[in-house]
Amino acid sequence: MKYAKKLMSLTMGVALGMGVLAGCAAKPAETSKPADEPKAVAETPAEAPEKTNEPVTLKIYAQYSDDDTKIPYDYAVQELAKAYPNVKLELDIQAQDDGQKLQTYAATGNLPDIFQVGLSQIETFKKSGNIMVLNDAAQKSGFIDKVHEGSKVNLYNEDGNIYAFPYAGNELVVWYYNKELFEKYNVEVPKTYDELLEAVKVFKENDVIPMSVFAKEGWITTALYDAIAVRYDAGGIDKLDKGQGKASDEAYTSAAKKLNELVKAGLLPDGVTNLNYDQAAALFYEGKAAMFLNGQWEIEASTQKLGDKADWMYYPAADEASYEASKTVWAGGGAPGGYAVNPNSPNKELAAEVAAFISEKYCEAKYKLRSNPMLALKVDASITPEKPFSPMMERLAKEIPNITSTTKFAWGLSNQPLKKSIEEQTQFLCTPQYTAEEFIQEIDKVIDRTNK
């Protein structure tokens, strides 16, 4: 028995020793190099991909969850079948998981040939060599020439390279309102925060929710804060992302205090941080909420549900003069992103070509089938939308050439810790218990740390 105990001890010792060694050998390997040295893989030079008729199946990881993503994707696939009959796409539907699935694919060497990415993932994949530089492919396919001048920001990364073929243009945060409710209660469309506070008071007295927001999602609370912040500083959250501003700066402090004041006055419904899109949108569509915040892609759904009753307004400002002066400044905007290519794909050249093609056709479908003019690429003049633009979209389309500056949506922020923090903190700010001071302190802490 004594011998058996010794044997057991030895076995356990060996097993533990193996464990320690294996643990020590695990990634990440220690390095003295700075962690952010880019490693994105450049294209293999010069050699043009040979066009063969051999059937090729490319895996693609793309959004495919609602009409706004399914219709353009299906259209692009149909067009691809005509232009590249030998190429078949195998779709892996993108999960709404902050990129976890894609990150896991990258970590395990299972990235699909083509995948949709946002800016923060581009930054991470650049460092680990999991994204292909598409400069040559963009040049050869003529993609660069097709990009709207104003959407070049969606094409080029800060380092000057192209990592993804964009399709979305500079999308905007739009402040919708129900004209009928405003007329019914004799409320003027607010130009200033004082008028907005007065409107909140009137709507609350009449059991109407002043504004519906799906605050369960952090990006929309960030957009709400940004829509207020741009009225104090046109840079909005983009400036915070670039490290050019802090939450304790006067403009951002004023925005936080104003949002806090509006929330305390009852701008948002009870339990707003638990409202998802369907619940929040239903409040607006059913005439229970007077205002609603979303991107411009909401125009189609709101027009369908509310018809002429729905419209959009310029974001209110501190006073009438700044309201007039800042009408051309919008929250939202574009950032690099779109269809990227796996540099380790055995068909990477073809994948790059297909990614550019899909992106172009995706834009075409959005314009033609979804009546959406806010695209990264120019659409052939011969193509016309199947349905005419809704009055709201017409009005917005007229505004677009006058826009002097945009900021970013939360998903376009390159500073990932700031993105996480600002989403959380703006959601917190949508509850009456939170203070602007707490918000400022937490955001500044992240900005100070990440800009060191």
Binding site: A26, A35, N130, E424
Partner: protein, 293 residues
């Protein structure tokens, strides 16, 4: 049998597979978590060794203290609710005089077999600030105690803990009921002859004899509370803000939302240590109690 236990080859053959699986599946990953917590690492690229910087930052992070406070509140609520209610129900169901025992036994266990997602959706409806059953109930009885159950930075964690306690009470109930059934009836008969009331018989016989079961239930509840994640992920997304964070949630958001895996692993290391400490303390307490008895 004695010969079998003295057979060294048999001991080695039978223990080695389990030992290897434990080492590979549990021990090595824990060591990796600990080692990687000393790196600035995004989960993909090569990490940069930064010593204990992640831990220094962790102890300076407000979210870390919120997460710990929530872990303890969560653990305390589920421990009290699950163990107290499960004991009460198990004693009642074990009593042959109670009618419909079979029905109650099944009814208490039903939430355990439901999916967590289903349970969370059910309670999301109950907690809804406008249309939820709970606020409607207060309204119906003429009380103005309407609450934003899941949007209140102080109450949200308690509301979520109740959901977990409700779902898993049946599991603790089943363990305690099995324990009660293993106690010989003759003990209760002897107590009855000595003139002990039912209450006294349970406090002097049932509960002391279930010490080991209670120890196990306590470990499950306390560690379950400290490492809670699923309910807040589904019901509040950690919000409002970070007010329903636990250490597991902090680890998750740091790794997958901020892309700071090293920092997330530092939180995971503290989580593992907290669970280990809780287990050691509970074992010590029960050991002391057994020695005193």
């Amino acid at each position: 049998m004695k010969k079998f236990f003295s057979d060294k080859v048999a001991i080695t053959v039978f223990t080695l597979p389990a030992l290897l699986i434990f080492t590979v599946m549990i021990f090595i990953p824990i060591l990796q978590v600990f080692w990687n917590s000393f790196f600035e690492w995004d989960g993909l690229s090569e990490g940069l060794f930064i010593g204990i910087d992640n831990y220094i930052r962790l102890f300076d992070d407000k979210a870390f203290y919120i997460a710990n406070k929530n872990g303890f509140i969560f653990a305390a609520i589920i421990t009290v609710l699950q163990i107290v209610l499960a004991t009460f129900f198990a004693i009642a169901v074990a009593n042959s005089k109670i009618k419909g025992r079979r029905f109650f036994r099944i009814a208490y266990f039903i939430p355990v077999v439901l999916s967590v997602t289903v349970v969370c959706q059910l309670w999301l409806s109950i907690y809804n600030a406008d249309t939820g059953l709970l606020n409607k109930f207060f309204e119906a009885i003429g009380s103005d105690y309407r609450q934003n159950w899941l949007s209140d930075r102080n109450k949200a964690i308690m509301a979520i803990a109740v959901v977990n306690a409700w779902q898993w009470m049946g599991y603790v109930f089943a363990l305690i009921l099995a324990g009660i059934k293993s106690i010989p009836n003759s003990y209760y008969e002897a107590a009855q002859i000595d003139g002990a009331s039912d209450f006294k018989a349970h406090t002097k016989i049932t509960i002391p004899l279930l010490a080991e079961t209670y120890k196990f239930c306590l470990i499950l509840s306390v560690t379950g509370g400290i490492k809670a994640f699923t309910e807040m992920f589904i019901m509040t997304g950690g919000g409002p803000g970070n007010s329903t964070y636990t250490l597991t949630y902090l680890m998750y958001t740091s790794a997958f939302k901020s892309g700071e895996f090293g920092y997330g692993l530092a939180a995971a290391t503290v989580l593992v240590l907290e669970c280990l400490i809780a287990i050691i303390v509970i074992n010590k307490l029960f050991k002391q109690d057994a020695q005193m008895n």
